[in-house]
Symmetry: C2
Subunit: 422 residues, 2 copies
């Protein structure tokens, strides 16, 4: 019987974590330097970890630098440099060994972040992983767009320890020669190499080959929608609601006078920013308190049912104190494991993650700034994705009322800024 | 501002049907005869209609037969047959005209089901649609697998009115010559032809080119998962529950003694069928009454939160009579428009469709028989998809207790059989 992976992660009620039954996966990155392999690998690792699949990136460059120190110039990467070649092969092997050990222990998805630019090398990797019982999927990034390459070189490579202290022009020239060394032997992944996805020009074209199964399909869907984008994402809870004042959870109450004041302040703030005024998209839940918070912005909004607050089931409308008194076992179970705890007839944080998956893919695809007016649990979950917060900590993230959390994506991480408005 | 299409269909609370703001789409099928174009077009139309996007297939062959009568033999399709060629061009034009008129009126997605095998023809179609303000996406089906072609010829073409009364061997030979006529001028869709998806060998390879936007992404995701499969899908409600006995909606009650009897009868029935005993996968919701119904089957099950019953919100646990007395306005609103009616703090049928989307894609991808043990509203929704029931009728479909509805997919429709067990 095949496992239906979505179910296990979707339903905390499922007794065994059945997604663990699925085959472990090695994602093998393929591509010349500066094609965005590490960017893609890290984004994918963040996404899969957030969904609950233990995922880790294994990068050859990092191991090389940890052993040799940084600052190998392009000659090191010349295929004519026999010693360099042997050393690089050893390194690649060590990296793969580390990945395989980790996957045999706790991992579900290992991402092998190296050039893997020849068919021979890929065949070795595929056969080795197959012997270990893992599924292999190549992820090839292919572009000759000079703007993309130039941006990758400047945004990520020049900050690498390899070029610390080197003059920029010289560093760029060296890096371009390194690319040329790899290009001289590079071969694209072919149809007889098994399962692969090729992303051409950052998603203008996507080729999927022998992608089968739930998790591979989900990986590919994410990759096809991933854009390199540096527009800000703003998260805010709705203004204070009447239920907030009363300390009740859930519900669908109106804003309090203080909450309405925040809504006006939020609108004034957005209008004050040239980079948001005309271009920001506003997303809300379908609950009154977020719609009323969006109202003074006086613009078209998108309502997402998926952004509704965590469903507190039979505890909806109660205060935490009431839950403690009337349902002490529920209160205790929630205190012990807030991530997996599921309100009776309601949701767990894990359930919220599953339904927010679509929102995340949509946010990764979007190129305009977005203001999300949401709720505490939902925003904790979105924030944890963007800031790569371990799942266990997600339900405990601070998410104050009347505060905008602005996330500015950079190459390898988001930078956060809090704007308190009242 | 871009419209976020998912929101509108997801939330009945959204005031304007904002998905209607998006550009209308022409999906242009491309492929030699017997590659599965009509099968794919019809499946896609059924899926998109079910999601709430008015979609219609326009097929050249049907118009030809309605005008000329059936029984054109292969000579009609010979490119050397000038008169046939001119007539076929006229037909193609009329079909496209009909599609465009419909799209200007009520349609959201028009599917143009013809060979469209030359670059020249596709360019004409693309430019014409662009002038009308529609987005164009080619859907190319490409295979040289003789088993696939042979199956398509036998399953669909030989039943076509074109070959009514002709001896089978002769019909196959004639149809193969028709394919050869088309092949002599066939050109695959190229990268400079804009947005397209190419499905090679029924999904072994999928090429996506310039696919951008929410709805195109959803179309492509569905197409990548669509398998031609004839394994049965069995739908059944849980056995009678204590809440059923009391006439209460929602809840999470146990099975009644009669319900437990049904659960045993269901297990005995599955075990009695050779085609199910060892191969059927069992999917349930996370609610007790479906889990208890699955228990006597004594096998691994997959629990889907997405299969939970429609959320009756604040009406959960009430009888319809109580709703009529205590919330007469809700009762009336539901009576008037059961599809769009949303329980206070709960879901509408439209919301249920949105969350079942994932279940449908998973069912289309799956190749084993599946037994879904679900709930009335959820099963009505799944049934409406498979049986192509207009959305408005979906909330009124008969879904009796203690009955298995077995759906057997065929080339162009599902055949249904009801098995009453107690």
């Amino acid at each position: 019987m095949r496992a239906c992976y979505c179910c296990a992660t979707m339903s905390a009620a499922t007794s065994s974590a059945s997604y663990k039954r699925g085959r472990k996966i090695v994602l093998v990155m393929v591509g010349l330097p500066a094609r965005g392999k590490s960017y893609t690998a890290r984004h994918l690792a963040r996404y899969l970890s957030w969904l609950g699949y233990p995922t880790k990136v294994f990068n050859t460059g990092e191991i090389r630098r940890s052993q040799l120190g940084a600052r190998q110039t392009h000659e090191f990467f010349d295929p004519a440099n026999i010693e360099g070649l042997r050393y690089r092969r050893d390194l690649a092997q060590q990296t793969l060994d580390a990945l395989i050990s980790w996957l045999h222990e706790d991992g579900r998805v290992g991402i092998y972040d190296a050039t893997n630019g020849t068919r021979t090398r890929r065949t070795e990797v595929r056969e080795r992983c197959a012997r270990e019982g893992f599924a292999v999927q190549f992820v090839e990034l292919d572009t000759e767009d000079p703007a993309v390459i130039d941006r990758n070189v400047r945004d990520t490579k020049l900050n690498s320890p390899d070029y610390a202290g080197m003059e920029e022009g010289q560093a760029v020239r060296d890096f371009r020669r390194r690319i040329e060394h790899y290009r001289s032997t590079y071969e694209k992944v072919a149809d007889d190499e098994g399962s692969f996805v090729r992303i051409v020009d950052r998603g203008r074209k996507v080729v999927l080959h022998e992608i089968d199964g739930y998790l591979p399909g989900r990986i590919v869907f994410f990759l096809s929608n991933l854009q390199i984008s540096n527009r800000p994402i703003l998260l805010t809870r709705h203004g204070e609601s009447m239920d907030n004042v009363a300390g009740r959870i859930g519900g669908d109450s109106d804003l309090s006078p203080r909450g309405r004041e925040y809504a006006r302040a939020l609108a004034a703030y957005v209008d004050s920013r040239d980079d948001l005024r005309d271009s920001v998209d506003v997303w809300t839940s379908t609950l009154r308190r977020t719609l009323q918070t969006a109202a003074p912005l006086n613009r078209e909004i998108s309502q997402w049912r998926y952004l509704d607050e965590i469903d507190a089931g039979s505890c909806d409308g109660m205060t935490y104190e009431e839950i403690r008194r009337k349902l002490p076992e529920e209160y205790e179970a929630r205190r012990k494991d807030k991530l997996r705890y599921k309100y009776p007839r309601g949701e767990s944080y894990q359930d919220v993650i599953q339904r927010l998956d679509r929102v995340i893919v949509e946010l990764e695809r979007y190129r305009s700034p977005v203001l999300v007016i949401g709720h505490q649990a939902v925003l904790r979950t979105l924030y944890s994705y963007f800031m790569d917060i371990p799942l266990q900590r997600c339900p405990h993230v601070e998410m104050p009322l009347h505060t905008i959390i602005e996330l500015q994506p950079h190459a390898y991480a988001c930078v956060e800024r809090q704007i308190q408005l009242t």
